[in-house]
C-alpha cells in the first residue's frame, strides 16, 4: 500500500488561500465551513492527509517528520529557524514584515536603547544587529500594537498587509524589513523517501502559480 502524504496547513490568515490553491492543483478538499471544525482532513482520491495547525507549529511538525509537507509564511519560517527544505514560494499570503510606531514620532526614541515589541524576536534582533543598532527586544504573543500605545515599547516589528490595523491604532509603518509570502516546506527524510510524490505536488503547485 502506498503511504499517505501528510501536509500541515496553517490555521488563520493563510488557510483559505492555501486551500483554494490546493483545490486548483487538483486536490479534493471539503467546503470551508466543514474545515473550520476539523483538525484532520483525508483526501482519499489523492492519498493525502491535511492537518490544520497553528502557523508557528507548522515548521515543527515538518521538522520532526510528523508531517511530510507544510505551508507556512516566510515570517514564521525565519522565526522558527527549523531544519526543513524550503521548496516553493507559493506567492500567497503576501504581506510585509515592518517596523511601526506612533505617528509623528521617530523610531530612535528618547530611550538610549529603544525597546521593540514583537512576536518575531529572532528576526527582529537579527535585523537590528545587522543594522548595527542596539535595541531591547520584548517578546509578546499577540496584540503587539498595544505596546507603543501604553509605553511598553517605542516601536513594534510585525506583519503588515493592508496597514488597517496599524492605522486604527494610530500607528504608522516606519520601515519595511522584508516582503513575506507563504512557502511550501518539506521534511528532510520525506523529501528523499517520497521524492517522486513530493516532486509531483511541487510541479502541480508551480503550474497553479504560473497561471
Amino acid at each position: 500500500m502506498k503511504e499517505k502524504l501528510i501536509v500541515a496547513l496553517p490555521k488563520g490568515r493563510i488557510m483559505d488561500e492555501a486551500i483554494e490553491m490546493l483545490r486548483q492543483a487538483g486536490f479534493t478538499l471539503p467546503q470551508n465551513d466543514e474545515l473550520s471544525r476539523k483538525l484532520i482532513i483525508e483526501d482519499e482520491f489523492s492519498q493525502m492527509t491535511f492537518i490544520l495547525a497553528k502557523p508557528s507549529d507548522v515548521p515543527i511538525y515538518v521538522e520532526y517528520g510528523a508531517a511530510d509537507l507544510g505551508v507556512v509564511g516566510k515570517d514564521v519560517l525565519l522565526e522558527e529557524n527549523r531544519d526543513v527544505y524550503e521548496l516553493l514560494d507559493l506567492q500567497i499570503g503576501a504581506c510585509r514584515l515592518s517596523i511601526a510606531g506612533i505617528a509623528g514620532t521617530d523610531k530612535s526614541s528618547t530611550r538610549i536603547v529603544p525597546r521593540i515589541a514583537t512576536k518575531f524576536s529572532r528576526v527582529a534582533s537579527d535585523f537590528f544587529r545587522r543594522q548595527g543598532k542596539q535595541v531591547e527586544i520584548i517578546k509578546l504573543n499577540g496584540s503587539i500594537e498595544i505596546a507603543p500605545l501604553i509605553g511598553l515599547a517605542d516601536c513594534i516589528v510585525d506583519i503588515v498587509s493592508t496597514g488597517r490595523t496599524l492605522k486604527e491604532n494610530g500607528l504608522v509603518e516606519l520601515e519595511q524589513i522584508m516582503p513575506i509570502t507563504s512557502r511550501l516546506i518539506a521534511n528532510r527524510m520525506s523529501y528523499r523517501m517520497k521524492h517522486v510524490d513530493i516532486t509531483n505536488i511541487v510541479d502541480k503547485l508551480e503550474n497553479v502559480i504560473k497561471n
Binding site: 521548496l87 528532510r188 527524510m189 520525506s190 523517501m193
Partner: protein
C-alpha cells in the same frame, strides 16, 4: 548545600535504562560485527581534544562545541565528531602503518543544541574510516558497507542520497565564481526558494542562471549524472562526474542500487569533504540516520598525505527507525529464605554452578512468609526465564545456555559453557 537536582538534566542528554541499553548494545553489536567482517578494526580516542585540533575542521559546528579550559588556559573541546580525532591518530601514532588502513568506532559525540529539536547534545555514533585510497572502489566500499550495516541492524527501507562536493564546487565556480559561498550557504539551509531568488539577481549570463536554477531539480537515478555532464565544461567538474559514475558502476556489483538517490545539492555541515558525499534517510526519522563522504585533505593538515572516505551512523536515530524487536527473557531468578543459613549456603553454590554453565542468575533473599509474594511479583517481569523457590532450584541441574535464551542474531561463544 544546594538541594540536588533529581529530575532535571541539561538539555539534549538522556539516561538509558537497562532495556534500552540491551537493545542499543544489540544494534551496535550487529553494526560493528558487520564492519569487522569487512576488515575494520575498532579504535578508541579520548572524548576531550584540544580546540586547536578540532576547531578548524568545521564551519557549522563552531558555535556548537562544548568548550572547557584546562589548567594552562588552553581550550579543550568535547569531540564533535570522530573523523578529525581519527585523522590525528592516523597522522601521528599510526604514521608508520601502511595504507590503506581500515578503522571503525563506537563512540559518544557532543554537539551543543540551539533548541530542542529532536537532536541530542550527546549521541552515539558507530562508523568507519577507510584511509589511504583515492580510488572509486573505496568510495563504493564505504557506501556499500553503510547499506549492509543498516540492513544487518534490521532496517529494510531507506534512501542513500549521494552528492559530489568537487562537482558542486567547480560547477558553482564555473557559473557564478564570485558568489559560491552564499550559494553554498543556501544549499546547506536547504532553501530552494532563496536559491532561486538569489540566482535571479546575479549579474551573470542567462545560460549560467538557467544551469544554476536547474540544479535543485537535478535529482533521481544515475541518469541525472549524464544530464549534469551537459551542464558543465570545466575539467574538474567533468572528472568528478566520471568518478561518481565509476563509483556507481562498482556499487551495482554490491546490489544496492535500488537504495540510491543522486542529489547534487547534498552538502554536509563539515567543510572537510572533497568528493563523493552521502546521507541515509529512513522513515519515520526526520533527520539523516547516517552520513559520510570523501575527505582527501583532512589528514594532510595533520602532516600525513592520505586520502580517505568514511561514514558515521547516528545510533539513536537508527534505533528510532527500527522496529523494536522483542527482547527474550534471559535470566534465572532463585528466591531463598534469608533467615535460613542452609539455603544461603546452597544458593551461592547452586547459582555459581549455573553461572559457570553460561547462564545469567540473580538471587533474592526474603523472609519466609514473603517468598510466594516475591515469586508472583517477579514473574510479571519479562526478564526471567524462570523464577524458582528453594524447593525447585535446589533440585535443578544447570541448563546449558543456548541460542534461544539470548538475543536473536547475537553472537555467543560456542554453547556458552566453559
Amino acid at each position: 548545600m544546594v538541594k540536588p537536582l533529581i529530575f532535571e538534566k541539561p538539555v539534549g542528554v538522556k539516561d538509558y535504562l537497562p532495556n534500552e541499553v540491551r537493545w542499543k548494545k544489540e544494534v551496535e553489536h550487529r553494526i560493528s560485527s558487520c564492519m569487522e567482517r569487512w576488515g575494520y578494526q575498532e579504535i578508541i580516542t579520548p572524548a576531550l581534544e584540544y580546540y586547536d585540533t578540532i576547531g578548524g575542521s568545521s564551519n557549522i559546528l563552531q558555535n556548537r562545541l562544548y568548550k572547557l579550559i584546562n589548567r594552562d588556559g588552553k581550550t579543550l573541546v568535547l569531540r564533535p565528531d570522530m573523523t578529525t580525532p581519527i585523522a590525528r591518530v592516523v597522522a601521528s601514532l599510526l604514521k608508520a602503518e601502511p595504507l590503506p588502513l581500515r578503522l571503525c568506532y563506537n563512540a559518544s559525540i557532543y554537539r551543543m543544541q540551539e533548541q530542542e529539536s529532536g537532536k541530542d547534545a550527546e549521541f552515539f555514533q558507530s562508523g568507519i574510516e577507510l584511509i589511504g585510497s583515492d580510488k572509486p572502489y573505496a568510495d563504493a566500499e564505504v557506501v556499500a558497507l553503510a547499506a549492509e550495516s543498516l540492513l544487518e541492524a534490521g532496517l529494510s527501507d531507506f534512501k542513500i542520497a549521494i552528492g559530489e562536493t568537487a562537482f558542486l564546487e567547480s560547477f558553482l565556480e564555473e557559473k557564478a565564481s564570485a558568489y559560491t559561498d552564499k550559494l553554498k550557504q543556501l544549499l546547506i539551509k536547504q532553501d530552494y526558494v532563496g536559491w532561486k531568488e538569489f540566482v535571479q539577481t546575479l549579474p551573470i549570463g542567462d545560460d549560467n542562471k538557467e544551469c544554476l536554477l536547474a540544479l535543485p531539480k537535478l535529482q533521481g537515478n544515475r541518469e541525472v549524472i549524464s544530464r549534469a555532464k551537459t551542464m558543465v565544461s570545466n575539467e574538474r567538474a567533468v572528472n568528478a562526474l566520471s568518478y561518481l559514475e565509476e563509483v556507481l558502476n562498482i556499487l551495482e556489483q554490491y546490489d544496492i542500487s535500488k537504495y540510491i538517490h543522486i542529489d547534487f545539492t547534498t552538502l554536509r555541515g563539515h567543510n572537510y569533504y572533497t568528493g563523493m558525499i552521502f546521507e541515509v534517510y529512513a522513515a519515520p526519522v526526520g533527520f539523516p540516520i547516517c552520513g559520510g563522504g570523501r575527505y582527501n585533505d583532512l589528514i594532510s593538515e595533520f602532516g600525513r598525505n592520505a586520502p580517505a572516505v568514511g561514514f558515521g551512523i547516528w545510533l539513536e536515530r537508527l534505533i528510532e527507525a527500527l522496529q523494536t524487536e522483542q527482547l527474550t527473557a534471559d535470566t534465572y531468578l532463585f528466591v531463598f529464605d534469608e533467615q535460613d543459613l542452609e539455603q544461603l549456603k546452597s544458593v551461592i553454590q547452586c547459582a555459581s554452578s549455573w553461572r559457570n554453565s553460561g547462564n545469567k542468575v540473580e538471587v533474592i533473599g526474603v523472609t519466609k512468609e514473603k517468598v510466594l509474594a516475591c515469586i508472583e511479583q517477579r514473574k510479571l517481569s519479562g526478564r526471567y526465564i524462570a523464577v524458582w523457590d528453594y524447593g525447585i532450584w535446589s533440585k535443578q541441574t544447570p541448563q546449558i545456555s543456548d541460542e534461544s535464551q539470548v538475543l536473536q542474531n547475537c553472537d555467543k561463544p560456542e554453547g556458552g559453557s566453559k
